[in-house]
Structure formats: structure tokens, C-alpha cells
Subunit: 349 residues, 2 copies
């Protein structure tokens, strides 16, 4: 059985305040009852919100701070003034070994900057990556980097592949995840030099994954691969474009179902069936972006997530900590480094 | 009134053969009756298909060739052996002044390579770009580059902005299109050096467009800007991701409406309303990617397009030729070059 996890929770992050964050924690707690929570933020607000969840209160310890990071704070401001904020203290708890993982629904840029500064990059990793799940026709796939970096070298992309495979193993339960490099065509001649070189390295290395070569934007949502590896610029644009497209279609559907009395009646008949579509696409059911590659685990919950979404992100954080994903990543990288002669051979081509 | 256009049509390109291509030409012809067609391809097949469309036949001239570019041909093979194919001859007709614009539904890579080789890049343009329309919540937006190049400099991006604005003027009828640079955030500090520099150049130049700064992936489909400017790698991934997401949702909707007898009944009531959604998202209604920046116009119709889709692409080709978009682009670039001191000033910062 996995050991009980101590989770550092930034109770102040997110658009809906501590009430939603704590309701999410309660939902996650009832699924993984052994979890203990360190709750960072305003003590009086947290205590008031906890009154509704006595079991959660029993398993929680409040760490008061009246400072919080605002959505408008720049990463540099957060670094200068935010170390003793609810977000900064939650990350520091992971660094100090008081907690196994930190979760925050606050400002992404501030969270990335502070996590990187406080926890530092793991040995063997040059750059951390932001990893998340996205819905596909076959279930869910893992995608990284979603914006921790602007540009990525071939080595960065290889490290992302190793981290993404470990993530898929833990979160999707896949022993040999299928990993693809996002490109603008599947032929070996296509793409930037970095991507072509990363493709060569991954093809020739013998890593615990099924490297499927290049994949394309329209194949992501088909679930063709379990792990989509790309640089942070492209990944960020692709993820946001997918979100925007889903939002556009939802809006057009709303208009369509409101366009006449017949459509409204049709909606009443079909709504139960349509709920499974909504559930599958609901971002709350795929919530949780993980900042991987640091000496400690930090999970970002979407600022707009509801309690179900917060619970999804907290559940992911518990799984990653219980499965000790950082050790799996270190092992994967060691395996890759053990094949360094091969890497040099490819580099010399 | 615009002058009559002569259109060079690769009758052999596309997945559905000359019959669909010519049915599309007939649909476009009935809308713009003065257009004349040069039909490149197998004379007997074209003649047989034209029997159904006597008016189109009257306005057409068949240019026989028994060579055609296959979907599996590589760009290099097309360049070596494809000059006298239906695609190669259609492009050559534009170069020789026999036609105002060429349209093909054939192999994209081959078309781009041959168009670039035969027509050459326009003076003042360093790299051509692939431009297309995409559906948004407000109608349609223009996006470029969709994959003509893998990487783009700041100057390339500025040229794409000028070309995209001219395209929006012609195709969407906008005098002062709102132009945005695709980035991973709207703050000026975000993004690659190329994007930041392009943003500075466009902000300080006084061009016939409303430069809106940076835009993000989730804002594309909202129609926040009329023209989305990006490098060919990101643009290709974003477009394909949007297509893939739309396909995923369509598949989930099909499953939802089939999930029970109630959903099926609901679909019957709502299907008229849902048709407007389908129409808005149907790629056939936005078909036509234009290869801009060459000494001549080449339009790519999607290989899988039906006759309506082919007609959309041909209609776009006619509009672009009638409006003389290449002259507009040259004027826009001249205006930008006239501000070259400013550019140097920015570069020296």
C-alpha cells in the first residue's frame, strides 16, 4: 500500500477563494483518506471554511499568512515579495521536507518562477517542463512542455520525453507509454533541427517507452500517442488553441439548441446523452498541470476550476507523490545517460 | 467592375478526381459568370466530366497532359519530374501570363515546392507564407504562416503581417484589419526574440492595419483579431490542433446522440438547428489556402474537399486575382520599407 501523503495546499489561490479550494480538498480526502494537509493562507478564512468539513479539519494543520500572490503579480514581483505568501510557503514546505507535494490554483507565472527558484532544477534536467493531461478520442493523453520554456534544445526534448513517460506511467497506469514528438509532418526530413535531432536520439536510445516518432496537431486529440512531447511555445499555443476550439464549439452548440423551439425540445431529449460529452471535455475532469524536473513536486490547479477540478488536481498530486515519480524520472534519465556513447555517435553524424 | 479572370485549374488534383473538381468549378462559375478556365489534365476524363456542365465547357479550354502528381510524391520528386504534370503546367500558366491564378487540390508539399521554384519569391519578400481562413465565434479570421516555413525571423513575421492584412482586406472586406502576433502571453516580455522584435517593429510602423499586439491560442477562435501572424511551425500545429479538436468533438457528439433512444429523438428535433453549427465549422466553407509572396497566385484546395469546397477555393482565387492582391502586398511592403529608418532605430535599441 502507498504511504500516506502530506500535501501543502495554497488555500488562497484560485478565482473562487478558499471555500472552493477546501471543498476540493475534502472531495480528494474522501477518496484517499490517509492524506494530511498543510493549509497555507488566512487562518480566519480557512477556519471558517473548514467548519463545513470536520474530517478534513482533523487531518489538516493551518499555517497562517496574510500575504497572498495576486493574479496580476508578475513573476519577478512574486520572487521579490512573495516568499512568505501562501503560495511561497506551500512550495517551501516541499523543499523543507514538511510536505511531499504542493498544490496551488494561483498565478501560473508566479508559481513557476517561485517553484524553480525555491526547489531548483533536478540534477540531469536542464529545464523543467509543465505537464498536463488532455482529453482525446481514446481517453486522455499527456502533453509537455506547456509553457515552462520558450525554446527547447534536442536534449531538453529528450528529457521531456523521459519525464512525460514517467508521468503517463504514474497517472495513466501505462507501463510502456507510446511517446510522439510533435512536428509539422511525420516524415523524418520535416521540422526544426532540434526536433529532428531529438527524434534521432529517442529512436536509437533504448528507453522504457514506445517511441512512435513524429506526430501532428490533428493526431493529438485522436489519442494516437500517450505522450506528446514539444517545446513550451508550441505546446502552450496548441493547448490553448484546443481549449479555444472546444469553447467555440460549445458556444455554437448553445446557439444551435436555442435557435428554435424544436431545438430546445431536442436538447431536453438529448441532454442526458450530451452530458457524457460535456463530462469528457470538462476541463475540471483533466485539471492539474505539474511542474516536473525540480527537486520537489508542484501541481498547478486551474484558477477557474470548481471543487471537482481542485479535487482532480489534488488527486493527481497525491498519485504522483505516492508513486514517487521523481525517482522514476531520475532512473529514466540515468538509463538514457548510460547510453551516452550512442548519443555522442548520433551527435557526430 | 472587376475584369474577367482566367483561372488555371489542376483538374487531376484531389481525392475525388476531376468530376468533383469540375463540379466545383461549375458552382464557382455560376457565381462569377465571366471567369474563364484553363483545365489541365487528362483530356478524355475532363471531356467526359464536362459533358454535365455545358456552360463551363464553353468557358473552358482543355490543356492535355497525362502526367499527374501523386499524393505520395515528395516535393523533390515533383520538382524533378512534375514540371509537365497537370499541377506543374497550371502553375506555369500563371508564370507565362496565360492565367491570373492557379488552383490545385493536389499534394501540398509538391505544390509549394513547384510554385516557389516556378514563380520565385516576390522582390521584398524573403519567404512566402501559406494563408488560410478559419472559423471563429465572430465569423472568419485569417491565419499565416500555416507551414510554408519551419522558422521565421522578425522580418519574416512583419512581411507575413503585411500579406495577411492585404488578404483580410480582399477576402473579408476589411479596410483596417486587426492584426495580432501569436504568442504565449500578451505581455511584452513574453515569447521568443523574433516575436518580441516583430512586435516592436509592427507597433512603431504606421501600416494600414490595426496592430493589436500579441494574441494567444485560445483567443484565435474568439475572433479577437482578424489576422493571426505566426511562424509556419506554430501555425501548422495550431491549425491541425484546432481541426483535431473539432473532429474529436464531432465524434463525441455523434456518440452522444446515438447513446439512447431519447438522444436519437432529441437529434431529430434539434438537427435543423445543429446544421448551422455544422455549416459554420464545415471545412468546405472555409476551403482554400493561398501561397502568398510569390510572383503569381497559387491557391491550394483541400484534397478531401467536396464540390462546395472546391467552389469556395476557386471563389477565393477569383477574388484575390480580381482585387490584384499582389499589388496591394507590394504597396504595403513599400510603405513599410519607407519607414526603414524607424526599423533601424528599433534594431539599434
Amino acid at each position: 500500500l502507498p504511504r500516506d501523503i502530506i500535501l501543502a495546499l495554497d488555500a488562497m489561490g484560485g478565482d473562487h477563494g478558499p471555500e472552493t479550494v477546501l471543498e476540493g480538498a475534502e472531495k480528494a480526502r474522501s477518496r484517499v483518506p490517509g492524506t494530511r494537509f498543510l493549509l497555507f493562507g488566512d487562518e480566519s478564512r480557512i477556519t471558517a471554511a473548514l467548519a463545513k468539513w470536520p474530517k478534513l479539519a482533523e487531518q489538516s494543520e493551518i499555517r497562517h499568512t496574510d500575504k497572498e500572490i495576486l493574479g496580476t503579480d508578475k513573476p519577478s514581483q512574486a520572487l521579490r515579495r512573495g516568499r512568505d505568501s501562501s503560495m511561497g510557503l506551500a512550495i517551501a514546505a516541499v523543499k523543507d521536507g514538511d510536505a511531499d507535494v504542493a498544490v496551488s490554483a494561483g498565478n501560473t507565472g508566479a508559481l513557476m518562477a517561485m517553484a524553480k527558484f525555491i526547489l531548483r532544477t533536478k540534477p540531469g534536467i536542464d529545464r523543467p517542463a509543465l505537464v498536463s493531461l488532455l482529453p482525446t478520442a481514446r481517453g486522455e493523453s499527456v502533453m509537455l512542455d506547456l509553457g515552462a520554456n520558450t525554446e527547447s534544445s534536442a536534449e531538453n526534448l529528450v528529457q521531456f520525453a523521459v519525464m512525460g513517460a514517467a508521468f503517463a506511467k504514474t497517472v495513466l497506469g501505462l507501463d510502456h507509454p507510446k511517446v510522439g514528438l510533435l512536428n509539422i509532418g511525420v516524415e523524418e526530413l520535416k521540422g526544426t533541427e532540434e526536433i529532428k535531432e531529438a527524434g534521432q536520439l529517442l529512436k536509437q536510445a533504448n528507453l522504457p517507452m514506445d517511441f512512435a516518432g513524429f506526430t501532428e496537431g490533428d493526431r493529438i486529440t485522436q489519442g494516437e500517442v500517450d505522450v506528446v512531447v514539444t517545446d513550451g511555445f508550441t505546446g502552450n499555443v496548441a493547448l490553448k488553441t484546443a481549449e479555444g476550439t472546444a469553447k467555440l464549439i460549445a458556444e455554437l452548440m448553445r446557439r444551435a439548441f436555442k435557435s428554435s423551439i424544436w431545438s430546445k425540445i431536442g436538447y431536453l431529449f438529448a441532454r442526458h446523452g450530451l452530458r457524457s460529452l460535456q463530462d469528457h471535455l470538462d476541463p475540471n475532469n483533466h485539471n492539474g498541470a505539474v511542474f516536473l524536473g525540480l527537486n520537489g513536486l508542484v501541481v498547478k490547479s486551474h484558477g477557474g476550476a470548481n471543487a471537482v477540478g481542485v479535487a482532480t488536481a489534488i488527486g493527481m498530486a497525491i498519485d504522483l507523490a505516492a508513486d514517487d515519480i521523481l525517482t522514476h524520472i531520475a532512473e529514466g534519465l540515468k538509463e538514457f545517460e548510460g547510453q551516452v556513447d550512442l548519443v555522442e555517435a548520433v551527435g557526430a553524424q
